[in-house]
């Protein structure tokens, strides 16, 4: 989002027990947690920043509201998400894993070559990313999901940098500039999001 001018075009308001907002009815856009932007220079490019947990009984309705109004012809979807590395199953010992690392899943109609290896069986994906990818698979929309397995519970520079190869992928490279300076930009982004610990003040 740092690379272009993005204009907010909508939001999806939802509430569940995981949300921080207390008033479910009068959610302000800032509390909506699923904000949609489009690129001013190319309004057919949309970005959705989902910073809340969409509960399992809300996922289908979320999809219907978001994709129901989108024309499906020539649509391409890229999903970025994270899971804790303890979710990852491998025949090797878990101490041989070096998080963060990326894995991908793509729909039948996606022609894109993932910038990392595909997620091996028996690993699976849940929640909203799975709901979106399932929708795309059923309705034959080209979609690719990049999943970062990380060993930290909150945003940090190393996990964010794990997504760097995705920025050079066919679908996203046109949207991103200044890749060599991305580490500096990311550092600034992480610092502003960090809640300073005040346990000793």
């Amino acid at each position: 989002m740092n690379s272009g001018v993005w204009e907010e075009v909508g939001c999806a308001k939802l509430w569940n027990e995981w949300c921080r907002a207390t008033d479910a009815v009068h959610l302000s856009p800032a509390e909506a947690f699923c904000v949609f932007y489009h690129l001013k220079s190319n309004p057919s490019v949309f970005l959705c920043q989902c910073s809340c947990y969409v509960a399992e009984d809300q996922q289908y309705q979320w999809l219907e509201k978001v994709f129901g109004s989108c024309p499906k012809k020539n649509m391409q979807v890229t999903i970025l998400t994270c899971r804790h590395v303890t979710d990852y199953k491998t025949p090797e010992s878990t101490s041989s894993l070096h998080p963060p690392f990326l894995k991908a899943l793509k729909t039948q109609t996606s022609k894109e070559s993932p910038c990392c290896s595909l997620l091996e069986q028996p690993n699976i994906v849940h929640d909203l990313p799975a709901a979106v990818l399932s929708y795309c698979q059923v309705w034959k929309i080209p979609a690719i999901l990049y999943l970062c397995y990380t060993d930290v519970m909150k945003l940090d520079l190393i996990t964010a940098e794990a997504f760097k190869p995705v920025l050079s992928s066919r679908s996203l490279k046109g949207l991103v500039k200044n890749i060599p300076q991305s580490t500096e930009i990311l550092k600034k982004l992480v610092a502003t999001n960090e809640v300073q610990s005040n346990i000793y003040t």
Binding site: Q61, T90, S93, T94, Q121, A130
Partner: protein
């Protein structure tokens, strides 16, 4: 709703639908996995619904690098036209309050597709068995009235045990008797709805406990095979070592990842 994979419309008239109930030990689902994997069935579509928790993963029946990259979702339909068999596999649990709507949607699809019969593979808690059930085979069957006429004789010849009725309210001594399937998930709902909608349905279940339920799944498919003969029956020859059922590649790591060597 059923959404086909390809462009062509599948004609399932006269086919037998095999499906699992999400039940104790996931035995029905494991058994269905064995059927799909052994018969190398082709995916023909998805049962796209808001009733099941979404999940995705790569092809659970992959046999090589080439076919391992096909995406699978939570409810998919496979078929084997040569045996007039269509299979629905469910891979996740029901969202709260959505199990009844799912049964309604499923049975309406069964009716509109003119399927010949439905067979539900399920399981029930073994600790709920009464004394008589403890001493007998762990397999049971149930038939809806509309299926009874056509298959009763075949079932009789197999010497199968029908699911017994038990007190509706166990704590009350003069309670009425009814069919109860504790741990059976939607099995009872599907059975009751099929009875009232005159859908030919059979339920095949095994009494199980949670744990390593692979042997239970193998037992249940053998039980099914006694009736449907979908693969050649396991021979009585004790020297025959080959397992007739193909274990899917996704059954790896059922109990977690590899262990760190430093543990030992």
């Amino acid at each position: 709703m059923f959404v086909p994979c390809g462009e062509s419309v599948c004609d399932l008239a006269g086919f037998t639908l095999l499906m699992p109930a999400v039940s104790v030990g996931n035995v029905g689902q494991l058994a269905i996995d064995l059927v799909i994997s052994t018969l190398n069935m082709c995916k023909i579509g998805y049962f796209y619904t808001d009733c099941l928790v979404p999940m995705v993963g790569n092809n659970p029946y992959a046999t090589s690098e080439k076919n391992s990259t096909e995406l699978s979702i939570n409810a998919e339909v496979y078929s084997l036209p040569s045996k007039k068999l269509v299979v629905l596999q469910l891979r996740s649990i029901f969202i709260k309050y959505k199990s009844k709507p799912f049964c309604e949607k499923l049975l309406s699809w069964v009716k509109s597709s003119n399927l010949a019969k439905v067979i539900v593979l399920s399981s029930s808690h073994s600790y709920h068995r009464n004394d008589l059930q403890l001493r007998s085979t762990p397999f049971r069957y149930l038939l809806t009235p509309s299926l009874q006429k056509s298959v009763q004789n075949k079932i009789k010849s197999l010497n199968w045990a029908e699911m017994e009725k038990s007190p509706c309210i166990p704590e009350i001594s003069d309670s009425e008797y009814c069919i109860r399937i504790p741990g059976g998930g939607i099995t009872k709902t599907l059975y009751d709805e099929s009875c009232s909608k005159e859908i030919p349905m059979a339920v095949l279940l095994k009494f199980v406990s949670e744990g390593d339920n692979i042997p239970d799944a193998l037992g249940l498919v053998e039980y099914l095979n006694e009736w449907l003969q979908i693969i050649k029956p396991h021979s009585d020859d004790p020297t025959a070592s080959a397992l007739p059922w193909k274990i899917p590649s996704s059954w790896r790591l059922l109990f977690g990842s590899g262990l760190p060597p430093a543990l030992f």
